[in-house]
């Protein structure tokens, strides 16, 4: 029990620190972009500590930092992006965030299945706050990676978690497009 409480506390603290760190980095990035306007749009500062952005979905009471990578270690610490994809919020691009549906020390995407089409959420990067609207929710097999393929005319953001509860058999994919 103590281990659980300790782990929960540690995880919460870590998430909080990352949120604060990202806020600080954003300020720093804003200053840096004034000095170095050539910094690629939306890309992270080397000192960002691997935080890609902040995902805020009020409907499921989620505000969490998003790390770079979707490997097991990264996902045990929080939400993570799948590497080698497009920049977030780019038209004709595809970007994906994965998170645990159930995890010992964190909630992450434990309520992602409550999302519905039409709901809106935001994703904050160093470049600014991007608003997305859910347009599709699918349950697919783990091998169906083509679900992440980019779609013409929209900036696609996919939220990925396992489905059903406590199982790795399927993946729940919430797909949203950037509206602002």
């Amino acid at each position: 029990m103590l281990l659980l409480v300790s782990g929960m506390h540690s995880n919460k603290k870590q998430q909080s620190e990352r949120l604060n760190a990202f806020a600080a980095m954003k300020v720093e990035a804003a200053n840096s972009s004034e000095i170095h306007p050539a910094l690629p749009n939306g890309t992270l500062d080397p000192k960002s500590g691997g935080i890609e952005g902040i995902l805020d979905i009020p409907q499921i009471d989620l505000e969490a930092p998003v790390l770079l990578g979707a490997d097991e270690q990264t996902l045990s610490e929080g939400l993570g992006t799948i590497e080698n994809m497009d920049q977030p919020g780019v038209i004709d691009g595809s970007y994906a965030i994965a998170g645990h549906q159930s995890h010992v020390f964190g909630k992450y995407f434990n309520r992602l299945h409550e999302m519905e089409a039409g709901q809106e959420f935001t994703y904050e990067t160093l470049d600014g706050i991007q608003r997305y609207k859910v347009f599709d929710i699918q349950i697919v097999k783990p091998e169906q990676v083509e679900i992440l393929d980019s779609q013409n005319g929209i900036a696609l953001l996919s939220l990925i978690t396992c489905y059903p509860e406590r199982s790795n058999e399927y993946r729940l994919i919430v797909q949203a497009k950037r509206i602002q």
Partner: protein, 744 residues
């Protein structure tokens, strides 16, 4: 005395003359007409025999009739002896008989040196012709048969209607066909108690020729048996051959011993051959089967389409494909009560070539077994090799011992290899797996997925990256009890991308993923290095002094920490000075620096980047003996990563026209931390710096590089964990209280 002799002769002469002359004198009342009629009748009758003796009731022998010569209606002979009503019912012996039958549409003539007709209560009618010739002309059919001896029996006691010919031959000619049937011994038995239409021939030959076909059957001994319900259409031949030629086809079946059964109580279409050969040629191709021993058995519901061959070979050649299958011993079963499509071969080789490629399977022992529900698609091979070569890809699988099971009651996709090697190459990738022992077992009941490698070597090369893993022993477990567990002894890992080579060597590595603690990893005697391929200094321009480059060290390598995580230049510098040419691939001599030419050419230690030595199978199934190397610099592999000298090929920063290669703009000069995105082990050192920058190095791969979506499930969540913890606490307290109460 002398007087008596003369008297007797004289009296005999007088009596004889009287007997001869008196009938002539007695015809005085007969008219000329009646005399003519009598003469006419006499003309139609055969000539009188010179000797005609009739003896009746001769003891034992019975009636005896001798005529020299003999002449009957349609039949003449030099001499004829007939014995009847005695020891035999009838015995006729004709010497040099000539028999003619001239009917309306049929003309038949039969000649023989001697003909014996015998009829006894035991043998019934038997006719024996010695050196006989028979000609028959019937409408459009003419038939000639000759024989030294020909025996025809209507109903012999056991064999029934029987015809035996010695040195017999028959020619038959019709308007449509010509046939020949001959043999030293020919025996046809119409009916015996168990068989019908039995034919036995010694040095036997049958030929039939038509306008559009030719059929020839021959053999030292040939036996055809028809025993309905027991042996249907059975043929046994010694030095047997059967040829059928058509306008567009040719069939040959032959062998020292050939035995075929069309149908038997248990068997269907069974064939056994010793030193036999079967050839079938049509317009579409040719099929050749041959073997020292060949047995094809079809026993419905017991052994369907079963084939056993010793020194067996099977060749099929069609217009666009050819194949051959041969072996010292070859056994295949299409279907049996437990087995499906089972094949066992000793010194077995199978080659199939089509327009699309070639497949070669060979092994000292090869066994492919399919036992549905028990062993699905099981393969066991000793000194086994399997080569597939297509237009743009090739693969090789082989080993001293190779065993694989697709599915079994306990096992899924199991592979065990001893001194085995698996190579796969296509236009975009190359993989190599080999080892003294290579074992992969999936879905074991408790253990889960298990992999064991002893002195194993695994290599993957893709267009822009490669990986290598080798070790004294590598054991991996991923199951219910232990998840993602790995134990590695004396292991070496390499990850190479456009930016450099990451190397990790460890004495012992232990990695375990536990439910609560997550991943636990322990390395003993571990050493990690990164060797950069190319470092671009922001100040390095073509023709400038490389010594001015702030990040250029003498050996051309840069540790990731050397520049505080910076990619060799600041972002603004990068924009001002895009990636510069760093090396001339054509002139790359493998050294670490090209002093004096203004170019920085950091090359990793060639000792650590030995090009994969791969035994590439050729079309004939042999290794490439000429260079014995996997040619990554051939025209087929323009993106190969290896130079001739064994060093890693430098990525071209500039195109041939001098323009900047966009794919290389970011790859060449930036931190090699892209590796972190491909290699988790590397991530421990350098993760979290500027991965997003490195993502710019290549085109977004999106889902192309993903094999599976991330695993984000788990059994435990905080609520469940807390519940379990509470249950344990309460259970503990309860147990303690119960124990205390019991002690009191």
């Amino acid at each position: 005395m002398k007087t008596n002799w003369m008297k007797q002769v004289g009296i005999t002469f007088v009596v004889g003359a009287s007997i001869y002359l008196f009938p002539s004198a007695g015809q005085a009342n007969e008219t000329d007409e009646s005399t003519d009629t009598a003469l006419e009748v006499n003309d139609q009758n055969e000539a009188k025999p010179l000797l005609d003796v009739h003896l009746e009731d001769v003891p034992v022998v019975g009636d005896v009739k001798v005529q020299i010569p003999s002449s009957e209606t349609g039949e003449q002979s030099v001499a004829k002896v007939q014995v009847s009503e005695g020891i035999v019912d009838n015995l006729e012996v004709d010497v040099a008989p000539v028999k003619k039958v001239d009917q309306q549409e049929t003309t038949q003539e039969k000649k023989a040196v001697a003909t014996v007709n015998l009829s006894t209560p035991v043998t019934d009618d038997v006719e024996i012709d010695v050196i006989a010739e028979e000609k028959t002309q019937q409408l459009d059919t003419s038939e000639t048969s000759t024989a030294i001896t020909n025996v025809t029996a209507d109903d012999l006691p056991i064999v029934g209607e029987t015809e035996v010919g010695i040195a017999e031959k028959k020619h038959q000619t019709t308007d449509e066909a010509t046939s020949y049937d001959g043999g030293v011994v020919e025996a046809n038995i119409e009916k015996v108690p168990v068989a019908e239409e039995t034919h036995v021939g010694v040095l036997d030959k049958h030929v039939e020729k038509t306008d559009d076909s030719y059929t020839e059957k021959g053999g030292v001994v040939q036996a055809d048996l028809e025993a309905p319900g027991l042996l249907d259409d059975t043929h046994v031949g010694i030095l047997d051959s059967h040829v059928v030629k058509g306008e567009d086809s040719y069939i040959y079946n032959g062998g020292v011993i050939e035995a075929t059964i069309e149908k038997a109580p248990v068997l269907d279409e069974t064939h056994v051959g010793v030193l036999d050969q079967h050839v079938k040629q049509t317009e579409d191709g040719i099929t050749i089967d041959r073997g020292v021993i060949e047995a094809d058995v079809a026993a419905p519901s017991l052994l369907d389409d079963t084939h056993v061959g010793v020194l067996d070979s099977h060749v099929v050649k069609a217009e666009n494909s050819s194949s051959f299958d041969r072996g010292i011993v070859e056994a295949s079963i299409e279907k049996a009560p437990i087995l499906d499509e089972t094949h066992v071969g000793v010194l077995d080789q199978y080659v199939k070539q089509t327009e699309d490629g070639i497949t070669i399977d060979r092994g000292v022992v090869e066994a492919d077994v399919a036992a549905p529900g028990l062993l699905d698609d099981t393969h066991v091979g000793v000194l086994d090799s399997h080569v597939v070569k297509a237009e743009n890809s090739s693969s090789f699988d082989g080993g001293i011992v190779e065993a694989s099971i697709e599915k079994a009651p306990i096992l899924d996709e199991t592979h065990v290899g001893v001194l085995d090697q698996h190579v796969k190459k296509d236009e975009d990738s190359f993989s190599l797996d080999q080892g003294i022992v290579n074992t992969i077992v999936t879905n074991l009941p408790i253990v889960g997925d298990l992999s064991i490698g002893v002195l194993d070597y695994h290599e993957r090369v893709m267009e822009n990256q490669s990986s290598l893993s080798t070790g004294l022993a590598q054991i991996g477990l991923n199951g219910t009890l232990l998840k993602d567990t790995a134990v590695n002894i004396l292991r070496k890992q390499e990850q190479t991308t456009e930016d450099g080579t990451y190397t990790k060597q460890s004495g012992i590595t232990l990695g375990v993923t536990l439910p609560i603690l997550g991943e636990v990893q322990a390395d003993i005697l571990s050493n990690e290095t990164f060797t950069s391929i190319a470092i671009v200094s922001p100040t390095t321009q073509p023709g400038t002094n490389p010594d001015e480059s702030p990040n250029d060290d003498s050996n051309g390598t840069t540790e990731p920490d050397d520049n505080d995580g910076q990619p060799g230049t600041s972002p603004e510098d990068r924009d001002e000075n895009p990636a510069l040419p760093v090396v001339d691939n054509e002139e790359n001599d493998g050294t670490n620096s090209n002093e004096g030419n203004g170019e920085t050419t950091p090359i990793p230690d060639s000792n650590d980047t030995t090009p994969p030595i791969v035994d590439v199978p050729e079309e004939n199934g042999n290794s490439n003996q000429e260079n014995n190397n996997f040619d990554w610099n051939s025209e087929e592999q323009p993106n190969g990563m290896w130079e001739d000298n064994g060093s890693v090929k430098q990525p071209n920063a500039y195109n041939s026209d001098g323009s900047v290669n966009p794919n290389h703009m970011y790859a060449a000069g930036w931190l090699a931390q892209t590796l972190a995105k491909h290699n988790q082990l590397f991530k421990a050192n350098i993760v979290g710096t500027n991965d997003r920058y490195n993502q710019l190095a290549g085109q977004p791969i999106a889902s192309n590089s993903l094999e599976r979506l991330p695993t984000t499930g788990g059994f435990l969540n905080p609520a469940l964990t807390a519940t379990l913890a509470l249950i344990l606490i309460i259970g503990g307290f309860t147990a303690r209280k119960w124990a205390l109460n019991k002690n009191e």
